[in-house]
């Protein structure tokens, strides 16, 4: 449990610190970020399937970007 708790607390504190900061990337500066190649989940059905392939053969689970409907039997 400690292995997970340490990173959670550290990152939560960093995020809280961020609450006090003015937005530093303006909307007109986000063209690169809006490019489809920057998406975490560009093709959801395809990515979801690949995640299931791994989930079905590995003991770890959860915290995937693109999991969803699909089979456990892969």
């Amino acid at each position: 449990m400690n292995r997970i708790a340490g990173p959670v607390i550290a990152i939560a504190l960093l995020l809280l610190a961020g609450c006090a900061i003015e937005p530093w990337v303006k909307p007109y500066e986000r063209a690169n970020l809006a490019d489809p190649i920057m998406s975490f989940n560009r093709d959801p059905v395809s990515a979801s399937y690949l995640h299931h392939v791994y989930d079905s053969r590995e003991g770890a689970r959860g915290a995937d970007i693109a999991t969803g409907g699909g089979c456990g039997c892969n």
Partner: protein
């Protein structure tokens, strides 16, 4: 005892939990982090194929996602697995089998100002396993839309049966709690942090699967008994991922996930990817993934005697192993300016996975008990799909 689903069932249990986990995004069908928008209106026709370790699994997946008015998005997904398996487990103590599984899901997203609420329902049916999942999610943009915070909850209810044994029926339930933060850090860097707890209870093992133990009275030197899992399990996973935009119009993707559960499985997964548009219409991809995990505390390839401990497992997914995968993909865009669609794409994705087990032995090879070679296998995963945006 015939064991037709020796490999499949525990895997299904694991992935059912993964299915529960899927709500965080919010729902299978949402896309990028950033400003609050409804998921893209699109249709996908996908053919998937897995071939490795004696198992072949393939089938279609069809998704249609459409807006209803300005604030609601509806998604439908139909998914099929056709399974033919003669895996290592099946070869050792059962016979080759075939099976079919079908799953249908409905997802609704509702957008109100900077908040997206999602609701999903998934139903999966096969000969000896039914799974129903309900999920709820909410995502909120804040801090000038630099930050998206999401939370979700999923509830799963499963019925486990055993082919050939009409009196066998067990249930299990799963709950998933997930929190995610996606943060724009610079004009070229966006990161996502996800934490998820999954808790399940009930019948979590496989009615077909066995463990082996030393048995001098057996000609082989060992015998099998049915595995016994705890009836509860809770896991925690945290993942940090980032996408970085490169000057030459390409993207670099990296991520790491830490995992731990009450069965004492520790795992770390690393991901690295590269996406490169080529010309006007092509997008090329390459990716690498490394997964390393330790075994569950009640796992053993060979127990010293029958009923050696309260809980017994010889499921290789609960063993200590490493999986390494490489993937490439190509996407071709078409249809801009067509009257029926905004655009379309044709896609091919290929992945090669190598599994190397540290304490799961290959019993198909004759050797002194406990000295059989360690098992390993590779698999090829193919995805071919067409997508249409409208």
């Amino acid at each position: 005892m015939r064991e037709p689903l020796l490999e499949i069932l525990p895997l299904r249990r694991l992935a059912l939990i993964a299915l529960l986990a899927g709500i965080g995004s919010p729902s299978l069908l949402s896309t990028n982090a950033g400003a609050a928008v409804l998921p893209e209106e699109r249709a996908d026709l996908l053919y998937h194929s897995y071939d490795g370790g004696g198992a072949k699994i393939n089938g279609p997946s069809v998704l249609v996602r459409k807006n209803v008015g300005d604030a609601v998005s509806v998604g439908l997904n139909h998914y099929v697995d056709n399974v033919t398996s003669a895996s290592i487990d099946v070869l050792v103590s059962a016979s080759k089998y075939t099976e079919r599984r079908e799953e249908n899901s409905l997802n609704l997203d509702y957008l109100r100002q900077k908040t997206t609420m999602s609701l999903g329902y998934t139903r999966s049916l096969e000969s000896d396993y039914d799974a129903t999942t309900l999920n709820l999610g909410i995502a909120q943009d804040m801090f000038g839309d630099l930050t998206t915070v999401s939370m979700s909850f999923a509830l799963g209810d499963n019925t486990v049966r055993q082919n050939g044994n009409d009196t066998f029926r067990e249930d299990s339930q799963a709950r998933s709690y997930r929190v995610g933060v996606t943060q724009i850090l610079t004009t070229k860097l966006i990161m996502a942090l996800t934490f998820e707890t999954i808790s399940d209870q009930g019948y979590l093992n496989n009615p077909y699967r066995s463990v082996r133990y030393v048995d001098p009275s057996s000609p082989a030197g060992y015998s099998f008994q049915q595995e016994v899992y705890p009836r509860t399990r809770t896991s925690n996973a945290i993942a940090l991922r980032g996408n970085y935009y490169l000057e030459q119009h390409a993207a670099l993707h990296a991520g790491v996930r830490l995992f731990q559960d009450t069965w004492n499985i520790d795992a770390t997964t690393y991901e690295l990817g590269y996406t490169l548009p080529y010309g006007e219409d092509w997008t090329l991809e390459a990716r690498f993934r490394l997964h390393d995990q330790g075994n569950a505390e009640f796992y053993s390839d060979l127990f010293p005697y029958q009923d050696a401990q309260n809980y017994l497992a010889r499921d290789k997914e609960l063993s200590s192993f490493t999986s390494t995968s490489f993937g490439i993909g190509a996407s071709y865009d078409f249809g801009r300016g067509w009257s029926m669609i905004d655009r379309g794409s044709l896609n091919l994705q290929l992945d090669y996975i190598q599994f190397d087990y540290d304490n799961f032995r290959d019993l198909t090879v004759s050797a002194p008990v406990g000295e059989e070679p360690l098992y390993s296998f590779d698999a090829t995963v193919t995805r071919i799909f067409a997508s249409f945006w409208f």
